[in-house]
């Protein structure tokens, strides 16, 4: 505890209302574009529109777990509690987003693949990622000593990020039922209609703002909790 610094106030609460307004506005625009403006897919019909929640949530989950990794390195390097607050906040939101894109993907799979779930590489590696980060959150409850808990969680957070590229590349490494990368692919430009791509980018922007808003609120909560912890010592 002596190596750490006492949490101080930050600017997050001041920008949060504006972030919330921007997130809500872009979310409405993205939802209208996804449900009504984007064209119907020639093969799948309208059910492909689930892509506009499934894919942004997946990308933001990847980002959330990379932030956990970076914050974990930050904690181990500097022992500043701020990094631990960022790590736990991002892990919690990442678990929420992973759970949601798994559910949305499962709902999409039923009318397109004929099953809710199948044991193929992308789905299995994603399920492992989900369980790993649920484990990360549970691990944090095993110790009441702040430094010990933060250090254990940081080591876990650094190791667990290995699964993120495995999830993304699993469709290339193994014979997968899941669609190959459509936008983030090595072979040239995105294989997507321009208006579909625009809708996807607007959705990605909206979910990024939602992630940022959730992070600002959750980090503030964790900093307040750390502050109460310090006053008790």
């Amino acid at each position: 505890m002596t190596e750490t610094t006492i949490p101080r106030g930050n600017t997050l609460p001041r920008i949060r209302p504006w972030l919330g307004i921007a997130a809500a506005a872009s979310f409405v625009v993205a939802s209208v574009m996804a449900l009504f403006w984007a064209p119907t897919d020639a093969v799948q019909g309208d059910v492909y529109r689930i892509l506009y929640v499934h894919v942004p949530l997946a990308w933001l989950a990847y980002l959330a777990f990379v932030i956990v990794f970076l914050a974990s390195v930050g904690w181990l390097w500097t022992k500043r509690p701020f990094f631990d607050a960022v790590a736990v906040a991002s892990a919690e939101i990442g678990v929420l987003f992973t759970g949601l894109f798994l559910v949305a993907g499962s709902i999409w799979a039923k009318p397109t693949w004929g099953v809710w779930w199948t044991w193929e590489p992308r789905l299995v590696t994603t399920a492992i990622m989900f369980v790993m980060y649920v484990g990360y959150l549970l691990l944090r409850g095993l110790s009441t000593d702040f430094s010990r808990r933060a250090t254990r969680a940081a080591v876990f957070g650094i190791i667990a990020v290995i699964d993120v590229p495995i999830v993304h590349l699993s469709v290339l490494w193994a014979n997968s039922l899941h669609q190959l990368p459509t936008v983030l692919r090595a072979a040239g430009s995105p294989a997507l209609d321009s208006s579909m791509l625009l809708t996807l980018m607007v959705s990605l922007f909206a979910y990024t703002l939602i992630y940022a808003y959730f992070m600002s609120a959750r980090v503030s909560l964790e900093r307040a909790r750390q502050g109460r912890l310090w006053t008790q010592i």
Binding site: S31, L35, G45, D46, V47, R49, I50, V53, H54, L57, I93, L96, G99, L100, V103, A104, I107, W108, K110, P111, I210, F214, A217, R218, S220, L221, A224
Partner: protein, 31 residues
Amino acid sequence: MDANLVFIVAAFAIVWGALLAYLISLRARGA
């Protein structure tokens, strides 16, 4: 009307509902 409309509505409703629930939980915790 698309025969798979129920799947589209379900996916969007679950995602929207969960995001709203998380927002409410943050507010309830004091954020």
